[in-house]
Symmetry: C2
Subunit: 215 residues, 2 copies
DNA sequence: GCCGAACCGTAACGTTCGTTACGGTAGGAT
DNA sequence: ATCCTACCGTAACGAACGTTACGGTTCGGC
């Protein structure tokens, strides 16, 4: 286990270096090299190795650093009527789509996917933990509270609802971006998508709709 | 452009070599090497280069070969009532989930994603064309026919519906698999997911439901 | 039997890149 | 002033791997 610096206590210089690594990741993808990072960051390779141990350590630290920069939406669980739940979910979807569509997120996920294939030091689980799982962790209590407040219809597994919400929001956008499809999501488009997804989710799982739900 | 063999006319030996490459891809991921493929296929590297030009050509041919093996569901556009449309969509979803969850598909998509990052000879667009886009091509006429037969509510853009169907079926399954999450989808689970997704899609877009649809 | 084409197995070459080593500089402490 | 620490820039090392070259074998055609 190469763990030289905790992301909690990074000096400003170290953060700058990781930002340079992030930029390298976005522009050079998987093929970023220790030399290119050091050149970008105007630092020596010796420093990279002292701080991060090896290439894997640098990549891991970079992924963690980016994850720590993504704001995690906070939600108040009180006053849960249908209106506020919808608004919350919509905001959630908007933020999330914005992250997913960003260059850094795409580069990061590409790297993690590559790495998950090669088996080394899984970046995959890190990205999963700080991406999807972090979202699920925030969202599931809200869904359960909404169920208890009779705003959502009864359900047993919050995972199922989360999965459906995920699907309605992300659709085929992420995989297309990862595969290099040139789609650009402007702010208005994201807002519209978030609104549609939220409306559909409420239609499927809202307390007042008894349409087809769980299998 | 390195194009040595068309996938249409591959000798059996060549197919066997590509199957070996496929196996190597599944087990070694991005880091598969010309040597490992030749060893697996019991062929010489010289042959690999003669047939496929270079490493990129081999990978491209492998991706095309796998794509050509995936059965494309065929659909009859006649007799479109709600029942048959549901059955068609459900079958579609089932097949699709089965493909997405397979080891080869995961390995293939990982490779394509890595490659899309590095910019080389896009495998990404090939996978996109033979995956998502092939599905969209088959599905959109059906959706439009269903609309004209008043089985689905009115819509302008079939893309929107396709995206929603995609999301409801795939949800977070593909990205989790790509990132290395250890989920196993048994046949019954896939069937249940396909049924749920289809039910939800019909609930959202069926002609007899006027719930929230397009933005 | 003989020839050439196709192919196998392996050795060899060159490049890239991770990793390490080294000389030099700035700044703070003693 | 001296020393020590942290850092920069660059050169050097070694392994992995794509690519090429070569000798040996099989096999169909004459």
């Amino acid at each position: 286990m190469t763990m030289h610096v905790e992301i909690a206590d990074l000096t400003e210089r170290q953060q700058a270096v990781l930002d340079a690594a992030l930029a390298a990741m976005v522009e050079e993808g998987d093929g970023l090299t220790m030399t290119s990072v050091s050149r970008r960051a105007s630092c020596s390779k010796e420093t990279l190795y002292k701080w991060f141990g090896d290439r894997d350590g640098l990549l891991t630290a970079t992924v963690r650093w980016q994850a720590s920069k993504v704001p995690v939406p906070t939600i108040d669980r009180d006053r849960l009527d249908e209106k506020t739940l919808s608004a919350t979910l919509e905001q959630f979807a908007r933020d999330w789509l914005g992250v997913i569509a960003s260059d850094t997120s795409v580069a990061l996920n590409r790297l993690a996917v590559s790495n998950a294939g090669s088996g080394k030091s899984d970046l995959g689980s890190i990205v999963l933990k700080n991406g999807r799982n972090a979202m699920a962790l925030r969202l599931k209590p809200v869904l359960e509270a909404a169920r208890d407040a009779k705003v959502l219809a009864h359900f047993d597994e919050a995972d199922t609802l989360f999965g459906s919400f995920f699907g309605l929001v992300i659709r085929d956008v992420q995989i297309r971006l990862l595969l290099g499809d040139a789609i650009k999501l402007s702010g208005p488009v994201i807002a519209a998508d978030a609104a549609r997804a939220t409306g559909q989710f409420m239609a499927l799982y809202g307390a007042n709709n008894q349409t087809k739900r769980e299998g």
